[in-house]
Assembly symmetry: C2
Homo-oligomer: 213 residues x 2
């Protein structure tokens, strides 16, 4: 407990690389795409709002269009699927229904559900708080999907360099959804990519109090 | 490949619960805290900037102070360690050094490092882009730590309901660091917490084009 280092996940975390290339021409079927999203949405979410939405882009012409909106990054096209990960800026709208479901399933007492709804409405009435949370929740889900993809024998890479306005326009995405990142998933290329060195621990971790890192 | 469902990580993802209670009074030693941060910083990061910083709060009085800043949420105090996860709003400052290290280690060619630096400076000169990326990177690292904690026999829970101004003041955190979330980690309580239902897949996933979800 606490010091075990042998869970296969820990090796997977240490060996994961952001994929910049994929075996081109390989496809993923609908059910595998759904499995990846099922994995992703197991991430935690503030008040269980679940701001995350996913547009799965697999059509070769669509991937070319998406690549252009991502300043030509080739992995968008080579990936079997590139997800547009969207954060719902009006995540609160669905919350009453989501909480009702949890109450009906017996996993959330009604008074706690009511308190969550009140708190969530108070906090996320602030548009900037709602936007921050959309980015946070989508990122938690994206990380979960990247690790799950590795566990499924796939490779994944997140991209934040893209034109969100072009992405929304070309893929019929309403302004209520914020494109948080693109997530390219596919079959790993046999070329092994190098892992980039992480900052030394003393440059990122402090005990007890903050400091200049 | 692609359809394997038997990696232990996938079960871990499906069974993970955001811990709201911990076995109180149990502690984690420095090395375990370091291990958790080592896991977290294996997450991907835009241009390898690594905006994430962690303040590990373990002292009982400090945890009480942090709990107050988190509106009394008890898990902040009961956790063996509660991390203040900080995003460096001036993440670019360290990037030349970080890229040099990668070049010296032979994992990044110099021309690519130079191109990354130019691109990163162009993109993150915009303060709102830098702030968004700090939230994204910290969230990716936090998700990695939550899963790693589970793999180590621990439990974890993220909290976003706290007063960032109070947290910064009480824990000597400079304004260049944005408190992105608190992350409580400790020994799981024997009380099993219920997992909250996720949205049905057709309410979060679209193929090819966006729509009203």
């Amino acid at each position: 407990m606490g010091n075990t280092n042998d869970h296969p996940l820990l090796a997977l975390i240490r060996n994961r690389v952001s994929a910049e290339s994929f075996e081109p021409g390989r496809t993923l079927d609908d059910e595998t795409v759904r499995d990846l999203v099922r994995d992703a949405i197991e991430a935690p979410s503030s008040f269980n709002i679940q701001h995350w939405r996913f547009v799965a882009v697999r059509d070769p012409e669509d991937k070319q269009v998406l690549k252009q909106a991502a300043y030509g990054q080739q992995q968008v096209e080579d990936a079997a699927v590139t997800f547009i990960v969207l954060g719902d800026l009006r995540g609160l709208d669905k919350l009453p229904q989501t909480l009702d479901r949890a109450v009906e399933q017996g996993v959330l007492p009604r008074p706690k559900a009511d308190a969550w709804l009140d708190s969530a409405r108070e906090i996320y009435a602030d548009e900037s708080m709602a936007r921050d949370e959309a980015i946070r929740s989508c990122s938690l889900a994206a990380m979960t999907m990247m690790l799950a993809a590795e566990a499924r024998g796939l490779a994944a890479g997140a991209l934040v360099g893209f034109d969100p306005v072009a992405v929304k326009r070309r893929f019929d995405i309403d302004d209520r959804y914020l494109p948080v990142m693109l997530l390219a998933v596919g079959y790993p290329c046999s070329v092994h990519e190098s892992r980039k060195p992480r900052l030394p621990l003393d440059e990122v971790l402090a005990f007890d109090r903050g400091r200049e890192f």
